[in-house]
Structures are given as C-alpha cells and as structure tokens.
Symmetry: C2
Subunit: 289 residues, 2 copies
C-alpha cells in the first residue's frame, strides 16, 4: 500500500516492521504487530500458558531483530475464553514478562476482553538510528545470501513434540543481538526473519528488492528434513544479504552464519535451489484454504 | 504495573494511552491498542463490515483524543473466519481507511490470520508536545468536572437499533479536535474518554488522581434513559477536569461542554451523584461473569 507523501511513516506494509520518524530525533521507531490465536498459532493441549505468552512476544521481537533494531516496549491485547482462569492468565503474562525482562522490553499497555478462543495481539515498539533500519528491499545483484543457525527445527518439533526441536518450537529465541550486529558491523543490505519458511520469506525479500535468488541447501536442524528446512515456519532465524566483499564470520556468539546463495538479476521474487525453481510453499496466512 | 526506572515509557497501563519519549525529540508519542471481537464488541447480524472497521479504529482514536494528541498512524491485526470473503474484508478495510483518511491517519502495517470469529486489534500511534499529554491522574481538589456532548446515545441505540442513537452507536466520532483544544486552550488537568460508561470511567479518573467526585445528572442523549447516560458504554465523549477559574465555553465546534460536578478530597475513586454513592456499573471487560 502506498504511504501518503508528507506522512511520517516512511515504510509500511510489506516489511517486518513499520518505520516511523519522530520529529527532530536521532532515531527511527519500529512497530510490528502479531496475532497469536488458539487453534491457529498454538494449541491449548500442547502449549502451556507460559509457552503461549513467550511465543506471542517472541514473534514481535523477531521482527524487530530483522530490522536491526533494539526492542523497547510492547502492548498486549488479550481475549480470553471462560475456561482461562486467573491462573492461566497469570502464567500467560508470566511467559510474556520473563522474555520481556530478558530483552529489556517494558509492557506499556494493552486491552483485555472476552473471546471464544484465546486471542492475543502483541505490538512491539523498537528503535534504530535514523535511516539505518535493515529492510527487505535493499538486496542488490551479486550480494551473498546468508541464514543464521539451522532451519526446520520448529516444524520438526511440531511433528515429534520432543527433544531440542520441540523446545525450539516452544521457546524460539529472537536474534536481537545478531540483528544489530548485521546492521552495525556487517552493513547487511537486506534482512528478514524466517517466520513463514525459507522458500516464502526469501521470495518476499527478493520481491521487495526486485531481484531473484540462487541458493543451495541450507543447514538443517538435527533430525529435521530438507522439506522442514525449506518450507517450515517459525524458526525465527535471520535471512540476510551482504555485499560480496563483506567478511562474514562463521558464527556470531553461539549462532552459525551460513552462506546459502547469491542474488541474481531476473524475475522479482524467483528463487532457484540447485538450479531448479523453488516453490514458495511456506506458511502464508493470506492463502485461502 | 510499575514502569522500570530508565525506561523511556513514561506512563503505562492505567491511562488511555501509553506514553513513549523518543530521544532528543520535541514530542511524546502515544500508543493505544483496542480489541474488536465479533460477538463481544459487534454482531455480524447487525453490524456491517464497514461499520465494524469504523468502530475498530474509532475506539483507538478516542484514546488519542483523550490524551489531547494528534493521531498519526495505525497498525491493524485481523483474524478472519471462513465465511468472511474478500468482499467482507474489503468493506472492513474500507471502513477503517475512510475514517483514517478523514483523521489524517496512515495504515502502516498489520497482521492477518485465520480465526473462528472476526477478531481485530488496532493500535493507534499519535503525538503530543513533550510532557503535555492529558492524563487521568491530574485532577485536583476543587477542579470542575465536565463532559462533552450528551450521554447514553450508544447504549440507547443498541437497544432500539434505529434513529440517531443507533447511528451514534454504529459510527462514533472520536473527539480529536476537542481533545487538542482541551490541552492547548483550556489546560485541562485530567481527561479520559467515555468508553465504558460515566460511572466507571469517572471512578477510574478519580482513582488515578486519588480524589473523589461529586456530580449531578449529566446531559442525556435524546430518547436515552438516565441509566444509559450514567452506565452505558461507547459514547466516546470526553470527560475532563479544569481548574475552577477556567472559562469553559458552552460549546466547542458543534459539541456542548457541560459542567457536571466538582472534584473533592476523599476516598480515591468514590463518586457521588446528587449526594448518593454512584456504583461503577459501566462495562468492565475485566469483570468475570
């Protein structure tokens, strides 16, 4: 959607966060909003209230990480059904607040209502130095494509419901420090988080940048399949591009950084894996079933 | 909830908006989030998609008005059930976007998901000059209490589903210009919007300001009962206090401004109507049925 001229919103729908420019300040503010709905994003039978709260905030924090931002505050809207008693609500808030505390985020407000199913919307606000947000639309022909960590763990965990992969699914760790490192030190040209699967998220990055991509197989989470790694959602790793001359270390803190391909001229959004077209099979909330 | 020291969130849960202070800027930013859930805040049978979209944004704009702010942008999260086809969604967005355009607000981002019932969360961002937001906690003993317009129209409209009262319920008009006037010209000491009913919203203002209130009957919307006016929600008029010496005009633009009482020393949050205790019977989303 077009942003009107004269507006102080300098990027809107189509990136991980909206960017707002305060008057006279030295920073841009980032905003992202994410729904977490029982039966869609989590199941009452398998996800505790604490886990649901953690995931709700983690989704938004990952969007801030993808823009190279610092997360500052969040607003939490929560619709609760009759079965969700005070204890459930307390544990949900506990899951939110523990992750908020560990990432320096303040719960600044919210709304509460009755609903048929647990329905949560979290807005996270963050900041970056003015004009420096990492965006999806900056990848240029010849840039190298990288991912952090290994992929498919969350999808594999959802299948098996045990082990490290299940833990990865239940308690994703947004790559906030990595996002800032990519912006400050590696001067990444584009970045997005892997929330809906590599095939779909890379397609979106390439569409925004009006380029195509050639990749090889990404690192696969132990036990996961290549399908999980290519199309599984909710890994919350970062996908980014850098100029070919940039020296990218093999790891940042405990997270591997792996080159998986290169940006090419060509149809905007086209992705090839080992020379074959890669269909965007990741999870698309807009797709009508 | 306590706001940690060193945080840049300078007011949080408990006022109409959270207040965030950008570094080095001349303004404070306001944020509010409001849920709109089918079966709770609107009914598919009686509320068109356009009306639902209008109401979703109007709720947030009213919070910005209550702080004396200018509304700048919004983020819209929308969960849609299977029955909501593209036409319904287009009309919903149309309702949001028409009100957004008429109030100078940019739709800057959002999220979309499947849900069992239509579930919408709108965040509105706004601004006020630094340190000048109207808050709930500034009412002082001896201040006069005012309301804008007449009350109970929305509740009466919900009962009768016709005429001006129904129109008031369906298409509330947030008092944005009035809110800025109260801040800039009348130097209101406290303000809140009437979203949950006068009895409850005045109680909350008095609790925040640690004072009590004595009021007489407020102006009643034509056809509505005194019960509607005292306890009915969703009027989205403004309730405010000013120093007793302040000259308040009888109207601002087309909206009447009526003195209904005075702030007194006494138990925080206690409200008396014509000398009798007024129970806070307004709509409280936190109350368990």
């Amino acid at each position: 959607m077009a942003i009107p001229r004269g507006s102080r919103v300098i990027a809107g729908i189509g990136d991980d966060c909206a960017i707002f420019r305060p008057r006279g300040g030295k920073e841009d503010l980032l905003f992202t909003t994410d729904l977490l709905i029982e039966g869609v994003h989590f199941e009452r039978a398998t996800h505790s209230a604490t886990v649901a709260g953690h995931k709700a905030l983690a989704r938004g924090l990952s969007d801030i990480a993808a823009m190279g931002g610092r997360a500052l505050f969040c607003l939490l809207s929560l619709g609760l059904p009759e079965w969700a008693d005070d204890r459930w609500a307390d544990e949900f808030y506990g899951g939110v607040l523990r992750l908020a505390k560990s990432t320096g985020v303040v719960l600044a407000g919210g709304d509460l209502a009755r609903a048929r199913r647990v329905t949560c919307d979290i807005v996270v606000g963050g900041s970056v130095p003015r004009g420096r947000a990492l965006r999806r639309d900056g990848a240029r022909v010849g840039d190298f494509i990288y991912v952090s960590g290994s992929l498919g763990g969350s999808a594999h965990g959802l299948d098996t419901q045990r082990g490290r992969a299940w833990e990865r699914h239940l308690r994703p760790r947004p790559r906030l420090a990595l996002g800032r490192y990519l912006r400050e030190k590696l001067h990444a040209t584009a970045c997005t988080d892997l929330s809906d699967g590599l095939s779909l998220d890379l397609r979106r990055l390439c569409q925004a940048s009006k380029v195509s991509a050639e990749i090889e197989a990404p690192p696969v989470f132990p036990g996961a399949t290549m399908e999980h790694a290519l199309h599984g959602g909710e890994d919350y790793e970062l996908l980014f591009t850098v100029r070919a001359a940039t020296r990218v270390p093999a790891r940042f803190e405990n997270v591997t950084l792996t080159r998986i391909g290169v940006i090419r001229r060509g149809a905007a959004g086209r992705v090839r894996l080992d020379g074959q077209p890669l269909a965007p099979l990741g999870y698309d909330h807009f797709r009508r079933s």
